[in-house]
């Protein structure tokens, strides 16, 4: 493996990493507010479906189509996550059951809508989706330039921005403090006059926005249309990244990128001498094995928000 190869791997790895990071940030908002969200996968599907549909329809009309697609993905994700919020916050549903329902619903619903809208099992193919960009000047910097600024999907920069924004919102603002308090000790938050329901709604809907964006990003950068396999488990990888990244935006960034890279590595494995003799399946499995190893190595006390997954009941002592 030489330096050139590593540089080459960057844009690919970051393309894979961006939606993972976005969705995991969504999970961060939700869990920090105290609601486990295993429906990231389903929300991503809905976001991807909405993003792809809008892009297909608007592409002939405007060059902004994919960006409008991203926005629609966000909106659709929010709307869909509202279902999770309503059942698990208002109706005190077991959050795992509710999330599971959303995941099952997403695949049925999106494909059903595809049939209504496009008369087929998938959206029509858009002709471009998001396009890669080369950042002027910065891309000329040796090493860093080709790694981070040459022919990159703009969604990568969006993901990085969202990491910073998330960090700021969650750890530096009153909103963040309140959000976290609801995920740690909702009864305490309530006793301080914080509306736990509202905060949890905010958390879940934010997760819908982020996961919807992630889904749209994924389909618009890595696919040509939405199909039922467009998301293929990325929501669960995002969930893993959230745990792996210890519910911290920077950790999530690291974990998401780690996944991007180990996935990319599997494509390059056969060109790397010492790895070339191994069967391909070994490399396909690599990201997942590495994650487990990393989790064991970095296993620590750090656990997620204490009250995540717990049904909020005012009277509880």
């Amino acid at each position: 493996m030489n330096l050139g190869m590593i540089l080459e791997m960057f844009p690919i790895a970051l393309m894979f990493g961006a939606p993972i990071v976005m969705a995991a940030l969504g999970g961060l908002f939700s869990e920090r507010s105290g609601v486990t969200n295993i429906a990231l996968e389903g929300i991503m599907m809905v976001g991807a479906f909405a993003g792809a549909s809008v892009t297909v329809v608007l592409e002939p009309v405007t060059a902004m189509a994919p960006w409008l697609g991203l926005l629609t993905g966000i909106a659709a994700g929010m709307l869909f996550s509202l279902l999770h919020a309503f059942t698990s916050i208002h109706l005190k549903a077991d959050q795992i059951i509710s999330g599971t329902a959303l995941n099952i619903l997403a695949s049925g619903l999106t494909i059903y809508l595809c049939q209504i809208l496009f008369n087929q099992q998938r959206t029509r193919a858009f002709s471009y989706g998001l396009r890669k960009v080369t950042v002027p000047i910065l891309s000329k910097i040796p090493i860093i330039g080709p790694m981070l600024f040459y022919e990159m999907y703009p969604t990568f920069y969006l993901a990085i921005t969202l990491v910073v924004v998330t960090w700021f919102v969650v750890f530096k603002t009153p909103f963040g403090l309140r959000l976290r308090s609801c995920g740690e000790h909702p009864q305490a938050a309530a006793s301080m006059g914080i509306n736990v329901y509202a905060m949890r709604y905010a958390g879940v809907i934010a997760s819908g926005a982020f996961a919807g964006l992630a889904g749209a990003t994924m389909v618009l950068t890595q696919d040509i249309q939405y199909t039922v396999t467009s998301i293929h488990g990325t929501g669960f990888i995002a969930l893993a990244s959230l745990v792996f990244g210890k519910w911290n935006p920077w950790g999530v960034l690291g974990a998401g990128m780690f996944f991007g890279f180990s996935q990319t590595l599997s494509y390059y494995a056969k060109d790397i001498k010492i790895l070339a003799s191994l069967p391909l399946e070994v490399f396909y499995a690599l990201p997942y094995v590495l994650t487990i190893v990393a989790l064991v190595v970095f296993a620590g006390k750090s656990v997620g928000p204490k009250a995540a997954g717990e049904i909020y009941d005012q009277g509880k002592r």
Binding site: T173, S191, M192
Partner: protein, 506 residues
């Protein structure tokens, strides 16, 4: 004199029970007003109504003469009412400052202004002599510090009316003493305090007035100065209560529980118990007292197998149990009433009958060849419920979660005593219980002693230690700083030893 708080004819119903039945409470401004009543009498409910957590089903509330509707804690805050809950409402991985400003955060632009908040917290803390580090994390500070954070939360919000729900249940005598000082200070500054406690002594010490509830009903309001502890207790329970524990002299036999040079690490990885040696004889109660955090928990967990022992040895009737797993320790004759009944003592989602066989489900008659015999399990539970007067809604079928704290404690006690251990480690057996329940539990502990059991009783409650124990060991900094006879010592001496200023050989 004007009342600052008037709760008039309050009624509150819970499914199946009327928790407050036409209760009227009037509190004078600038006074400390105590609220007294058995477990489940409705004290917390009444205060929760005042604080806006529950809405009453009847009656009205007037604050400073104006009729108000306190629909949620925000309204209470605006009215200047603050509450320190029975179970603290603190976010454990937040700092002191973060906990205090939560919900009322100072901002610089869109950003949290932690710095200026911390300054304000420090100022308040100094003003009331609370001595709290604004940057410490809650999980790193002691229970009494946490309580002060709760007080600061109210002060930060300029509360004028402060409600304390059983604030002393978790404090050591010194800490209680300090808290009393703080309360007086608060009143001097013009605050009004509502104090819920089961301890009549505390009421005598600080309160001006006392309102007594029984089974949701108002029994009466009396000036503390002119009322004896005994008569307050009688108002509360409806019968006479004996305060001193009725026990004869002990007849200690041979050593049963022998602890030699024990070292145990605490959660932070430091030695929480250092070279500790102690022995308990059959037929005696050895009280273990000390300020919270001086190694009691570590010692008890090490003895009972919940924490690993670094070095040293523990024997029960000569059997070395130092390295044995929990199960084998129990089989060697050790018994354990845990300090935290919710965390260790019960599986809250199990039924009472299932909880009663938590140790013995694997042996006859409760199971044969690995198959449970629910008939026998139920019979066992019914027997214990009967014998120990465990009260619960649906008898053996009740989920442990829905039982009151006192009855949960009785259930644990029943289970453990019934195992008939020879060496009995008992921790905080009466935390948060009313005097009636305490009386009963003390009686049972003494009865066990009289059956020849060796009992190690750890309690933060000095009265309990003094009343129940035969000998008293004082722990400080993980070491035993003295062992004294219970009838030859007093609160003062123990207090000095507990703070590490006096050592005394046993």
């Amino acid at each position: 004199m004007a009342f600052i708080i008037e709760m008039l004819n309050i009624v509150k119903d819970f499914p199946g029970i009327r928790a407050n039945d036409d209760v009227t409470l009037q509190v004078e401004k600038g006074s400390i007003h105590a609220l007294l009543g058995e477990n489940g009498a409705g004290k917390s409910t009444l205060m929760s109504i005042l604080f806006g957590l529950y809405s009453p089903d009847g009656g009205s509330i007037r604050i400073r003469g104006e009729t108000v509707r306190i629909s949620d804690p925000n309204v209470a805050n605006e009215l200047g009412i603050g509450m320190v809950h029975q179970h603290f409402k603190l976010v454990h991985n937040f700092t002191v400052t973060e906990n205090i400003i939560l919900g009322l955060e100072p901002k610089k632009g869109p950003v949290l202004d932690i710095k200026s908040a911390a300054v304000k917290v420090a100022e308040l803390s100094k003003l009331y002599g609370l001595d709290v580090d604004p940057f410490a994390k809650i999980e790193d500070i002691s229970v009494s510090m946490q309580q002060r954070v709760e007080i600061l939360k109210m002060l930060y919000r300029d509360a004028e009316i402060l409600i304390f729900d059983e604030p002393t249940a978790v404090l050591t005598p010194q800490e209680i003493h300090e808290l009393m000082g703080i309360m007086r200070r608060l009143v001097e500054e013009g605050k009004t305090i509502l104090l819920i406690t089961h301890k009549l002594k505390e009421i005598k010490a600080v309160a001006d007035t006392c309102t007594v509830l029984r089974r949701g009903k108002l029994i009466g309001t009396v000036p503390v100065a002119g009322t004896s502890e005994a008569s307050m207790a009688e108002m509360m329970v409806g019968r006479e209560v004996s305060f001193s524990v009725d026990k004869g002299p002990s007849h200690p036999g041979e050593v049963v529980l022998d602890i030699k040079d024990l070292c145990v690490k605490n959660a932070k990885g430091l030695l929480g118990v250092k070279n500790l040696s102690l022995s308990v004889r059959e037929g005696e109660i050895l009280g273990l007292c000390g300020i919270d955090g001086n190694g009691q928990t570590e010692l008890i967990q090490a003895l009972t197998g919940l924490a690993p022992i670094e070095s040293g040895s523990v024997t029960v009737r000569g059997v070395d149990i130092t390295d044995l797993p929990v199960k084998q320790r129990l089989d060697s004759g050790l018994g354990h009433i845990p300090e935290d009944r919710h965390r260790h003592g019960l599986v809250l989602d199990f039924r009472l009958d299932e909880n009663m066989v938590i140790h013995s489900y694997g042996s006859e008659p409760f199971s044969r060849h690995g198959i449970l015999d629910y008939g026998a399990i139920r019979k066992n539970a019914e027997r214990l419920i009967d014998e120990f007067d465990v009260r619960s809604g649906r008898g053996a079928d009740t989920k442990a979660r829905s039982m009151s704290g006192g009855n949960q404690q009785k259930a644990i006690l029943a289970r453990e005593i019934d195992r008939s251990p020879i060496a009995f480690v008992i921790a905080q057996p009466t935390r948060g219980l009313d005097v009636g329940a305490i009386e009963y539990i003390h009686k049972r502990i003494v009865a066990e002693r009289d059956k020849g059991k060796a009992i190690l009783l750890a309690s933060l409650e000095l009265d309990e230690i003094l009343d129940v124990s035969d000998r008293i060991a004082v722990i400080y900094g993980g070491e035993i700083v003295g062992v004294v006879d219970a009838d030859k010592t007093d609160e003062n001496e123990l207090g000095l030893m507990m703070s590490g200023s006096v050592r005394k050989a046993g």
